[in-house]
């Protein structure tokens, strides 16, 4: 073992960085945790890594049912009018909301609304109201269940259609939770060696928004970066490509510019 400056080799700094990403398993993980228990400076460094990593996380609106479940597990009797999950945008001025959340406020009247998912419980209604606030035209059907609780039907909005050769291939929708989906409506199903891939074509170069599978799954959840207005779907070898190979359809989204 070579002689080093005092402590210079004692802090597993590379391991600690990987540990901060939960990328270390087993015995290595235990060794780092043993070191952390004794080393103040590494605990501080870990907290600094966690701070940086948490900046990479974009707040999104959780489904209302999540808070319902938390209440059910933390308080036996949920009170009527209990605090709603994440009702308003986060207070941080440094957090940019997902484009899809913004987009819900920009939907216009002629867009189709249709039932997507049924949520149970009074809390769900509040979330649905938030999701449609500012639109003013979306109808939320409310039903009273047998137990006196409320079941409501909430809606997804079509925010764009992707077509090729005049044929509609897929629709892009945003649901009550602000989640965006690509829903294949007219695309044929590919063989297992190929996949559809979604692209943003707003910039000089297409940017991949993820692979969509063969089309056998009719609905795929996607993340649309803020300000996405033009998208394309291409056909790719399985696993996807870094650049589009064969563009089969294009469309425009009515998201904020």
């Amino acid at each position: 073992m070579s002689f080093t400056r005092p402590n210079a080799g004692d802090h597993p700094r590379d391991d600690l960085a990987a540990y901060a990403l939960d990328a270390v398993d087993g015995a290595e993980r235990q060794a780092i945790e043993s070191h952390l228990a004794l080393c103040h400076s590494c605990r501080r460094e870990l907290a600094a890594h966690e701070e940086v990593l948490s900046r990479m996380v974009v707040d999104e609106r959780p489904p209302a049912t999540v808070w319902d479940q938390i209440v059910a597990q933390t308080r036996p009797q949920p009170q009527a009018g209990a605090p709603e999950a994440d009702q308003r945008r986060p207070a941080h001025d440094d957090v940019v909301p997902l484009a899809t959340l913004e987009s819900a406020r920009h939907l216009s009247d002629e867009r189709r609304a249709r039932p997507r998912r049924r949520l149970a419980g009074a809390l769900a209604m509040a979330a649905a109201v938030v999701a449609v606030a500012g639109i003013g035209t979306v109808v939320v059907n409310e039903m009273v269940g047998d137990d006196g609780g409320q079941d409501i039907e909430v809606v997804a909005e079509t925010v764009g259609v992707i077509s090729g050769d005049g044929v509609e291939l897929a629709e892009v929708t945003v649901d009550e939770a602000g989640a965006a989906h690509v829903e294949f409506t007219g695309a044929s199903t590919l063989d297992a060696d190929h996949t559809y891939q979604l692209w943003s074509t707003d910039g000089a170069e297409p940017v991949s928004l993820g692979v969509l599978g063969t089309g056998s799954d009719r609905e795929i959840e996607v993340t649309l970066p803020e300000g996405t207005t033009r998208v394309a779907i291409s056909e790719e070898p399985a696993g996807g490509s870094s650049q589009p190979t064969t563009v089969v359809g294009q469309g425009e989204l009515s998201l904020p510019a």
Binding site: R13, E51, V52, P62, G81, D94, G239
Partner: protein, 215 residues
């Protein structure tokens, strides 16, 4: 019926908490109301309103990281619930002297999401052998999809990183891959991946501090 915004309940019902802490309350940079550590202290005292307020503040961040890492709403819902139920049951695990609440909650969520994904991927591999799932995307496609999800200013900072450091961080953090898997995905030695992650995190920290984003 048409539901109007007038029927929306008040955004936060944390009045009791706010009043209780009025004496010691000071204005935080980004929010008014009780400080995070005061809310956690109220949790120790069994104040459920404090949990609701913490959820209102950070439920979106916990859900955001869980959903991205899990890439599955049901798994992400489980992770998000577990994080807040655990916080309620063992609030003393949060040590305010070590760091802020949001990064701590995000780290809790990330660890659970990675656990969920690793056991989920074991399940999925079994299904793949039965031909039920499409193969996963290639590493550069996966990394690009995660990068596209970042907010504008964070993406600017991340774009400053050398691409090998950026890909190592993004694949390990958002992809939920271990450093060994990340090394295999990127075709680089395992030790190199760990150094890239550390260097990349240091550069990111400086870039974010320069943007005034780190408190």
């Amino acid at each position: 019926m048409v539901v109007t915004t007038a029927e929306r309940p008040d955004a936060v019902r944390g009045t009791a908490v706010a009043t209780r802490h009025a004496d010691s309350m000071r204005l935080a940079d980004r929010q008014t109301g009780p400080m995070d550590e005061e809310l956690v202290a109220a949790l120790v005292a069994g104040d459920h309103d404090a949990l609701a307020e913490i959820y209102r503040r950070y439920g979106g961040a916990v859900w955001g990281v869980a959903r991205r890492v899990c890439n599955d709403r049901t798994l992400a819902e489980d992770v998000t619930q577990t994080v807040f139920v655990d916080l309620w049951r063992r609030p003393e695990r949060f040590d305010p002297s070590r760091g802020a609440l949001r990064p701590w909650l995000v780290a809790q969520a990330h660890a659970r999401a990675v656990d969920a994904v690793r056991s989920e991927s074991a399940r999925q591999r079994r299904h793949e052998r039965e031909g039920q799932y499409a193969p996963p995307p290639s590493p550069d496609v996966e990394a690009a999809a995660h990068l596209a999800s970042l907010s504008e200013d964070v993406r600017r900072a991340v774009d400053e990183l050398p691409s090998d450091e950026r890909d190592a961080i993004v694949l390990a953090y958002f992809g939920g891959h271990s450093y060994r898997e990340t090394a295999a995905l990127l075709g680089a030695p395992e030790g190199t991946i760990k150094s890239r992650i550390r260097r990349g995190l240091s550069v990111l920290r400086r870039a974010l501090e320069a943007q005034g984003m780190t408190p």
